[in-house]
Symmetry: C2
Subunit: 466 residues, 2 copies
């Protein structure tokens, strides 16, 4: 193969030997799509893009880069929202896209063995076809790769019932910076044979190792859902409704999404949809209960809602009488995509605070932004059942110097409430300035020591997270 | 205070200064109860027993011991089954028993903030009194301390629905070997602000840090349960019943306990109880669904069971018509205590293998033991819904040299099935010889490097796990 001139011809030649033709692109051959993710972060200029097809190839590439001291940026579907996978200058981009095989579905054990480059939706569909369900779900399902979902400990729409990506991972195979393969492909829900090392890599955003394969837990398949869109007088009643619904339905709530009045008005305007319940209330909750027999489970869901009315928690409510109506409710929640397309450029937040304080925190953030940026539009929504608030501020000018001020105002309050500057999107490049708002100096020191131990030359995803 | 002569008078004096009177016992003052746990493992002779009452005191004691190079053995309720908390020679036993306050119950957020020395059952009762439930449950609930439950990632009776201890921990406070306090008292279900460091300590068995406080997730309270005791023709039908029940009940199964025929006969003999379903079947399953409205949920549970009959999965079944009958079913599962008291000395196993292969693995273990130890009694049972098999071999003579051979025979097969030598009890002292059966050399190497990084002088629980 022709090797173009580069700053690191030796490593490029070495990788070409390892991978053979067709799995290495150098310099200007690297496609634009590999240079960015779904965030606004812009990275550096990479040396090359490699697409190994096996764990052995990943290991060999890493060993070579480690020996040469060349940085490596692992890449999945590039749907991240924090810049965690954008290139570093001179880095080898290590795409897992060619490792996209489902190796096994064991319906009896309720597990699935997959390679890291599988697209999330492919796994959902394969589990469904096998009569089970894979309960990780998020907006980027059509392009995000499962290795990236694990590396960022992805959250999404069903966390309240099934947990984050972490809770779905039974086993992992990881390649360390020096090429060492760490086989941890556990298949059992219970395994206490010493420390469970896979947790070092879930949420490590490609800085501690490269995830190559995984074993996932599968859940029983679901046939559909009951859902309601509920209008509430404020967050306090929303928290009351959540507790009531969880108790009444024996923990079967699969989504509890809140939309504050500002979001509700914005999404109705952006989508042109008819409001299932009238505007004018403080907060709206989308409450969903998936199950194997939605018709048979309808009475219990309706009784839950009637109990909430009787308890004075609910102002108004629409209950879905069909899956189509369930989908209509979700269209309002998912309408954030249309809102964003109308408002660019916006600053989008992904924060969490202890559930009991969400209402107060939202009010404080709204007031702080109003006082400092009187003309700024802000809308609030999120997976409130998991303590997770999303807010969107803007549109602002793309180069508006107030952007950083808006972020500081929000993160100052998140810190004051003991919250997290990233509930689910991760730190990447974008949130590095605020990581110390949510982690103590002792934690940051330990994170640095972990990084030094696992990646002593600092070649893995340099400049990200820390 | 009078300081007796000791090998380490300086460190004892130093600790006496830190803790003041009444929180330090030296040499023969150390009570016998602090010298052993519920396993047969016997440790060494400790230097002293300390019972600090605050994180600051734990930190000061650890700093002093770290400087002096004196070993420290963290101790909770001493109910462990692997010798993880028995003394090392010359060690300071660090009991968390005096840190036993529930600091806060936040019912709105669904969380509880506790000190590590709280007894498990105290936490269950406090959550219940607050209208929530704390869903960690295991036989030692009346004496085990929560810090030990976290340090061993305890499992127990409700793992199939609520996960291991790990899944219930939102936040932790840990003191490192050198006295550094690591505050990670996160209160949110979602927090992706960099790697989640608490997982380094959950399941570390006191070798990487001392857990001092925790934030736990609380679940909705339950009012009772539906349950059935089901006779099956073999493990394959048991796995089919589990899948059917999980699907039919939309994942609400809270326990799926298997008892093989040998166990069923033994427990009926040991307890004198009447069999709810006749003997003579291959396997018996206790299927339970807790909920907020057991009467209202009864029809769904019964329909699940009827569906299982129609599918030909079930040979015979008894369905509980009251909580008392639910308790009667559990008495058979919990009757292992009576069996053990009649059979001492026994060798008790706690292994896991991938769920689909449990039946085959049990058959192989039974055959291997029968051929090598023809007179040995063996009974099989366990949390099969979580891949977890317990088996009890014996009685054998207490000093029987065949003991090790029995263990090797079992663990050889567990390894061949890709299983774990410890599903829930941990490694401690007892399972060290077999740790390499379930963890690869690369994993063991990384475990050693983690240990060196976090405890460079090796003072924390020396000789345990690795």
């Amino acid at each position: 193969m022709m090797i173009p001139k580069s700053k690191h011809p030796v490593i490029v030649e070495r990788i070409a030997e390892i991978l053979g033709d067709g799995r290495l692109k150098v310099g200007s051959q690297v496609p634009d799509a590999s240079l960015r993710d779904w965030s606004a972060e812009r990275g550096g200029t990479p040396l090359a893009l490699v697409t190994p097809e096996s764990t052995e190839q990943v290991s060999a590439v890493l060993r070579a880069c480690h020996e040469a001291g060349v940085p490596v940026v692992p890449q999945g579907g590039l749907t991240g929202l924090a810049g965690g996978a954008v290139p570093s200058d001179g880095a080898v981009l290590l795409s897992l896209a060619a490792m996209n095989r489902i190796e096994e579905i064991d319906t009896t054990s309720g597990l699935m063995v997959v390679q890291a480059g599988c697209v999330l939706q492919t796994l959902q569909d394969a589990a469904e076809a096998a009569g089970r369900s894979f309960q990780l779900d998020l907006g980027a399902r059509g392009s995000s790769q499962i290795g990236g979902n694990i590396a960022t400990n992805a959250g999404g729409n069903r966390v309240i019932r099934y947990g984050m990506a972490r809770e779905l991972v039974l086993g992992l195979e990881v390649v360390l910076a020096d090429g060492t393969v760490l086989p941890m492909m556990n298949r059992m829900p219970k395994n206490n044979a010493a420390l469970d090392l896979k947790h070092l890599f879930i949420g490590s955003e490609g800085t501690l190792g490269v995830i190559t394969r995984a074993v996932f837990r599968l859940h029983p398949s679901v046939a559909g859902a009951n859902a309601a869109l509920v209008a509430l007088s404020g967050f306090s009643d929303a928290a009351g409704l959540l507790a009531h619904a969880q108790k009444s339905l024996s923990g079967r709530v699969t989504a509890f999404e809140l939309m504050w009045a500002d979001y509700y008005a914005a999404v109705l305007a952006a989508t042109g949809r008819r409001p299932p319940v009238a505007e004018g209330h403080a907060v709206y909750a989308l409450v969903e209960m998936q199950g194997s027999d939605p018709d048979g489970e309808h009475d219990a869901f309706q009784a839950m809602l009637e109990g909430a009315f009787e308890a004075g928690l609910v102002q108004d409510a629409a209950i879905a009488m069909s899956q189509r109506e369930v989908d209509d409710f979700w269209a309002l929640r998912d309408g954030i995509a249309e809102i964003l397309s109308h408002r660019a450029t916006t600053i989008n937040f992904d924060v969490s605070v202890p559930l009991a304080r969400i209402g107060e925190c939202v009010d404080d953030i709204r007031a702080a932004l109003k006082s400092r940026f009187p003309d700024l539009q802000v809308i609030f929504f999120g997976h409130a059942g998991d303590s997770n608030i999303h807010l969107v501020a803007g549109p602002i000018e793309a180069v508006d110097p107030t952007g950083h001020g808006i972020e500081t105002a929000v993160y100052d309050l998140v810190r004051a409430y003991g919250g997290s500057v990233s509930a689910e999107h991760g730190i990447g490049l974008h949130k590095k300035p605020w990581l110390s708002y949510s982690r103590s100096p002792a934690e940051l020191d330990l994170l640095r020591r972990m990084k030094s131990m696992l990646d002593p030359k600092g070649i893995l995803n340099p400049g990200k997270v820390l």
